[in-house]
Symmetry: C2
Subunit: 342 residues, 2 copies
């Protein structure tokens, strides 16, 4: 069986999900909606992705730019089983009614409010509960990073309480108009930041607080996470649990010489398409245990970490695959996710 | 009584301590040692500070630059009661023997190993224990920031355990050759960073872990601190304890619109000499309490925070003032420290 998928929006997430869909043997990318004929539209057209516009109105500009348009969003919706909404944060909710009317299943991104979908989604935490739901919301990059870690460790050793400090990149590499140049900004000043609330959309029982700052860099977020386990564990136990889990990559700073996000992204550029690193990177030698408290540093590639979860969300919503681990295997093999970069 | 003070080194800390000494009614700045006749030497000469060189060798370059030199470090040591060593980190220890031989009291900086002095020093924690000691080491900027907070809260509510995540500026504004441009670096990757060990040089009984990253900014450090209190307290209790303490400034981000270090330093530039902010800045609305755990964000101006403690260290080592609060009052009034910027 093959699921027919459309994408609304080809920004940071949309074009990566588009590429990922073309790599799945059980999915077909029918087309993608673009608002303007900019360089990402040119690249998509060159890659053979059929392009659509939100309405007839935007088509003229594409004509002038020499980019073929297949029709409108409405036309695309008539041809697909699932639409992945990758419009800017908050915009997806405005399209909700149109998607509903067309009777397609919907995958939203973490920039939307949780109410946009029947459930918020993160593969390693709640794939099975998402089976057959009409609409899912893949939580944001930071939340995806936190949830991969928490659910992996919860499975093997039980997590009682989490506290995380997020050191966030100011903007994505392609964003040229925002972010501090020389400042550490509290974002927000108050605790908890929205990330704790977002984690609770998937794990409502978890006691978690998050605090966040924004710093002048574009490459990745870094989290300092403190996890209180149900019982004592050694650093070795934690490393083994993470080493055995999908989508988590352990990096030893001593062996690799990788001390931060710049070197990590440099290594990824020479190993991966578009230099992406969809794995959650946990710095192995940062894992520190005192009694039942584990602290560690992890890095989140904000541009790509949610891509595997979007692919799984399509399978869960359409019941294409019932077993979460089967979906994880298909997704990770097709995208070339690995446990090591070297 | 007036204590005669010399300074070895006019870098980031040295020239600020030099200026601070000239503002004390119970101290006299006899002179300062400079290695090279660069712009900080020219500024010191213009300010009327008598200049000395480490040895006769360096004097010629000053002659050529038209800067008058009074003699060598040895000459200066013969005229002072106290030498403040503000040479680069690790260099002070090499001068230790020369200072000892000259029979002067010594104030070292936090860049030196703790063994360089009879005690590590932080006014609000251990002024009284430092009275009359021959050598003191004023702990580093980050440690001073942590200690002001910890000792203030410990006095009124008892602190059992501390965990801090330090988001460190990469370099000082005048440093042009170091620091990441676009990266978040683990510095170090392992826990604890040296800051926890440095705090323990002053508070050996405290259970503390610290973790640190370095980010591409030059203005201030930001700390996320978690304190476990001996008993439950409200956010209001914490605010009152900090509001009543010297050298700690509360900033409300909502009222002031100050969300980060850039706006904080911008405000300081329009209120203070050299734009310095020697107060520890605690973001009032970041104070968050759960059971007996307090979390908050604070900012540390790395260039100036240790200046008041250097002045107090001179008084403690020479027994010029026996009461810590009397020294704090003299120092803070002379330097214009305040509880508010506005």
């Amino acid at each position: 069986m093959t699921v027919k998928v459309g994408i609304n929006g080809l920004g940071t997430i949309g074009r990566r999900v588009a590429r990922a869909i073309t790599l799945q043997s059980d999915m077909k990318l029918v087309g993608a909606v673009k608002t303007r004929p900019d360089y990402t539209a040119l690249q998509a057209a060159a890659a053979g992705i059929p392009l659509y516009t939100p309405s007839q109105e935007e088509a003229e500009a594409f004509d002038k730019a020499g980019i073929r348009v297949e029709g409108t969003l409405q036309d695309l919706l008539a041809k697909v089983d699932v639409i992945v909404d990758a419009t800017p944060g908050g915009v997806g909710e405005r399209y909700k009614g149109i998607y509903e009317e067309a009777g397609v299943r919907q995958i939203f991104q973490g920039g939307e409010k949780a109410r946009v979908a029947e459930a918020s989604f993160s593969t390693l935490c709640n794939y099975s509960e998402a089976l057959g739901l009409k609409s899912l919301r893949v939580v944001s990059c930071n939340t995806t990073g936190l949830l991969r870690l928490i659910c992996t460790l919860h499975r093997s050793m039980g997590v009682k309480r989490v506290q995380a400090v997020l050191i966030r990149r100011a903007a994505d590499p392609r964003e040229v108009k925002k972010g501090p140049i020389n400042s550490i900004n509290l974002n927000p000043p108050t605790t908890p930041s929205h990330h704790a609330l977002d984690v609770k959309t998937v794990l409502p029982w978890l006691e978690i607080t998050t605090s966040a700052v924004v710093v002048p860099t574009t490459l990745m977020h870094v989290h300092h996470v403190t996890l209180e386990l149900e019982k004592r564990a050694s650093a070795r136990d934690v490393i083994e649990a993470l080493a055995g889990a999908p989508r988590i990559m352990l990096i030893d700073t001593g062996v690799t010489g990788i001390r931060g996000t710049a070197q990590l992204m440099d290594a990824a550029r020479h190993a991966r398409p578009a230099g992406d690193l969809p794995e959650l990177v946990v710095f192995e030698d940062s894992i520190h245990v005192e009694e039942n408290r584990v602290t560690l540093f992890q890095a989140v590639h904000q541009e790509s970490i949610v891509v595997p979860e979007n692919i799984d969300a399509i399978r869960a919503a359409t019941r294409l695959v019932e077993d979460p681990w089967e979906s994880v295997t298909r997704t990770d093999e097709s995208l070339g996710l690995t446990k090591r970069l070297f």
